[in-house]
């Protein structure tokens, strides 16, 4: 008879070969601070419903909302789940989930409210068997973090031992505004929680294609041999948005595109593109390799020619007249905050020496798209006449992160006919086509990983620090330079095109 070995937690019914059985977290609670806010309603609550609908939540799963305004949280949550869910709506799934939905009203200064929250968690140990396990999601502005963390320290809610289970905290970007402030934030969070229990969300890392980048590079034979400076000419990483700043003026005007996107999303994508093969696919090994890349990043020698920032002016976007950045509500007329940033970075390793990495991000660009384009060198010799290959460009491998997640390979091919004429063609792999099964939303995957305690897809504090070390000098330089202007609906300022043109390159139109 096979029974559990004493002292070891082995579930006799789990078998690594049995991949039909889903990975389900232990019974636990998810506490959302800012539960009625935008992030919670648009992303978190729908993600929780989808997880429940896929049968990935444990029995007795509890959601606790914490927010100032009471309202009827269950109704708000139901509406949010119904509007945002990716999977089909099944009333019975929601009913089961709603049985575990609780709400605590209060402000972050309110000691009584936090005492009540702590008491609720203790009570749930009994009634729902969560065994002290809880994750705290800080879906709130970073300025309020210290308050909330102090309250959790005071009530011992963050203490694994006092709770008798695990206690984890989830922090959204921005992780500070520069290196000193991010380190201060880390110290604060690490003081209250143990460093391993801190999960920093970069939702790009939850996307299928980003995870697939590692599969593509390390599970296949024919990409890795050419994945270096011998064959790669340059890499372009783009994250473009067609929207403006919307109602986020207060946040955005203080932050800007470089801190909002470049520091986290783009540098993470760069790290995954450029990293060496990890020794295994666990959090620790992947982090080690990513850190090596982030620490090897060098800024251009002359930022005046290889770093451009821009700001959008009024123009037309998708057939609609849109305001310039200065005219957006809540933005000062003389604001020099950038809404566009482009920079050339170098990765100083043997593999990547001499290969420029061009990163760009911006708002009010023609379309919403995120992609990593690896552009290969031209063939050293072409046995065709010049006129035959006029239409032939560089070979490209493009990883499309959003929308239309997938991969495009661009190469030259003969145009049918009696003449020899070579032209670029594209070969497409579309996620929606080969695996039509609705791939989970990034937040769904990440929330599940938090509950399972798997930190593979979360940037570590050291990665955040290494990223700030790249961005801080850049910000310092940019603070002296007024942003270049571009019309809303254009692919950024002319200076950004000039930046590549001086090296004889052009931006790929995504």
């Amino acid at each position: 008879m096979s029974t559990d070995k004493p002292g070891q937690q082995i579930n006799p019914l789990r078998d690594p070969d049995d991949r039909r059985l889903p990975r389900v977290p232990e019974p636990c609670a998810l506490v959302i601070f800012g539960a009625t806010g935008d992030l919670s309603r648009r992303k978190l609550i729908p993600a929780i419903y989808d997880l429940a609908n896929r049968g990935l939540l444990p029995p007795g799963f509890v959601t606790i909302g914490f927010a100032r305004d009471r309202g009827n949280f269950v109704d708000i949550a139901k509406q949010a789940a119904q509007e945002g869910a990716r999977t089909t709506w099944r009333e019975e799934v929601w009913e089961r989930l709603a049985e575990g939905v609780h709400f605590v009203a209060g402000t972050f200064e309110d000691d009584a409210a936090f005492d009540e929250l702590a008491a609720t968690l203790t009570r749930l140990n009994e009634s729902h068997g969560i065994a002290g396990n809880a994750a705290f999601y800080l879906a709130i502005p970073p300025v309020t973090f210290p308050l909330v963390l102090k309250q959790m320290e005071r009530t011992k809610m963050a203490d694994n031992e006092a709770a008798g289970g695990w206690r984890r905290v989830v922090v959204e970007k921005p992780f500070g505004t520069d290196l000193p402030s991010s380190q201060a934030l880390n110290t604060l969070v690490d003081d209250v929680f143990t460093p391993n229990d801190v999960f920093r969300i970069d939702h790009y890392l939850g996307k299928e294609t980003v995870q697939n980048l590692l599969a593509l590079r390390f599970a296949n034979t024919f990409f890795e041999p050419v994945w270096n400076g011998l064959y790669v000419d340059s890499v372009q990483i783009t994250m473009a948005e067609d929207v403006g700043i919307g109602t986020r003026a207060g946040f955005y005007d203080k932050t800007g595109a470089a801190r909002d996107v470049l520091q986290n999303h783009l540098l993470q994508l760069l790290a995954l593109t450029a990293m060496e093969e990890p020794v295994s696919f666990d959090a620790e090994s992947i982090r080690t390799e990513k850190l090596k890349v982030l620490r090897a990043i060098a800024l251009p020698e002359n930022p005046a020619t290889h770093a451009v920032r821009g700001q959008y002016q009024q123009g037309w976007c998708a057939g609609e007249r849109v305001l310039g950045y200065h005219d957006e509500q809540g933005v000062a007329k003389d604001s020099t905050t950038e809404t566009y940033a482009a920079v050339q970075l170098n990765v100083e390793t043997r593999r990547w020496a001499g290969v420029p990495f061009y990163l760009r991000t911006g708002k009010r660009l023609p379309r919403r798209v995120t992609e990593i384009a690896v552009l290969f060198r031209e063939a050293p010799h072409l046995p065709f006449s010049n006129t035959d290959t006029e239409q032939l460009g560089q070979n490209q491998l493009v990883i499309r992160v959003q929308p239309d997640e997938g991969i495009t390979l661009k190469f030259g091919s003969k145009v049918p006919g009696s003449q020899m004429e070579v032209r670029d063609v594209a070969m497409d792999f579309l996620y929606g086509e080969s695996f039509t099964e609705k791939s989970p939303e990034a937040y769904e995957r990440l929330v599940l990983d938090v509950l399972l305690g798997d930190s593979t897809l979360f940037p570590h504090a050291e990665e955040v620090a290494a990223s700030w070390r790249v961005i801080d000098p850049l910000q310092e330089f940019w603070s002296q330079v007024p942003p270049a202007l571009y019309r809303a609906g254009e692919w950024g300022p002319a200076a950004a095109d000039g930046m590549l043109a001086q090296d004889g390159r052009t931006w790929r139109r995504p």
Binding site: I10, N11, P12, P58, R96, F429
Partner: protein
């Protein structure tokens, strides 16, 4: 949609290529070819389920209806559709009459999508006793049967073990997944020796037998079977050495109740999934299902199932001679 009457395999291949070009599609996105062996009685169910599954896994769908094997004139009728009534992919429904039905592979082989896995599903009928006698089973990398369609499901299941080759699974096995998920989930928080198990279900139910076999393969003890008439398994429970019981049963049509000692009862969403959804689950895993083989071993006492060759060699079998 193209319909061809009294046609040849070559013309079907041409018509499919033409339909694909017209739709602007290419084969690059195909993950697999799904071959469905159906009869006139089950073809509607097969089409319905296969189009649900094809929405989750882009497949070229080939449905073969074999009829009147003893009829005199061999004949082939085919219907070809791309992104039409049979889901987003390419689909060919063929009716094969007379002796042609015994050589279905001669029409199917040239229609398989290049170098992607082939899955054969016997829809709504008892699976063949010996899969090697059906050429449509021989050409497949993955084979999906459904023992619950057999008059004696338990005997059919035992025959599946005798005839097993890696890559075989059964839709009764797919039915156990939600049960197994809830049971395994309950044991995530329990760390106690197990002394017994009980399954309550209707007599002669393949899903109940597979659940028992699975528990036996994992826990090393033979579960007791309690008979209770009903549409399927009603309850599974595991007894702990400390006297407690872990139990999963139905609360209502859409809900399971999970009982664990010392913890409040929990209601979890669970429902009987339609065939299409179960088929989609099967298509997600194209490698041999080890726990299924271990379960069949536990049921029959046979050993070495996973070590068998995954390839079958066709055995000629003429039903006209045996009947």
């Amino acid at each position: 949609m193209t319909t061809l009457w009294d046609t040849t395999g070559t013309d079907v291949v041409k018509a499919l290529a033409k339909a694909r070009r017209a739709a602007g599609g290419v084969t690059s996105g195909l993950a697999l070819t799904l071959v469905v062996a159906a009869t006139e009685r089950t073809v509607a169910e097969a089409e319905q389920a296969a189009s649900v599954a094809a929405a989750a896994h882009p497949a070229r769908l080939i449905i073969v209806v074999r009829r009147e094997i003893n009829g005199l004139d061999p004949r082939l009728d085919a219907e070809i559709s791309v992104g039409d009534r049979l889901g987003p992919g390419e689909a060919v429904v063929m009716r094969m009459y007379g002796r042609l039905a015994l050589h279905a592979e001669s029409v199917v082989l040239p229609l398989l999508a290049p170098d992607v896995p082939v899955v054969t599903w016997w829809c709504g009928e008892a699976p063949p006793n010996i899969i090697a006698q059906d050429p449509l089973g021989v050409l497949a990398d993955r084979r999906i049967t459904d023992c619950s369609q057999s008059p004696d499901p338990i005997a059919a299941l035992e025959q599946r073990a005798i005839d097993y080759a890696p890559g075989d699974t059964d839709l009764s096995w797919t039915r156990t997944t939600p049960w197994r998920a809830h049971l395994a989930g309950a044991f995530d928080v329990i760390n106690e020796p197990v002394v017994g198990a009980t399954i309550i279900g209707p007599p002669g139910d393949a899903t109940g037998a597979l659940l028992a076999g699975w528990l036996q393969s994992r826990l090393g003890l033979a579960p007791e079977m309690h008979i209770q008439d009903g549409p399927g398994v009603a309850e599974v429970s595991v007894e702990l050495a400390t006297g407690g019981r872990v139990c999963v049963g139905w609360h209502d049509k859409y809900t399971a109740v999970v009982r664990r000692p010392g913890l409040p009862d929990r209601l979890m969403p669970m429902r009987r999934r339609p065939t299409g959804e179960r088929l989609a689950e099967e298509l997600r895993h194209l490698d041999p299902d080890q726990p299924y083989a271990a379960t069949l071993e536990a049921i029959t006492g046979l050993t070495g199932l996973p070590q068998r060759s995954p390839k079958r060699v066709h055995q000629w079998h003429d039903p006209a001679l045996t009947s």
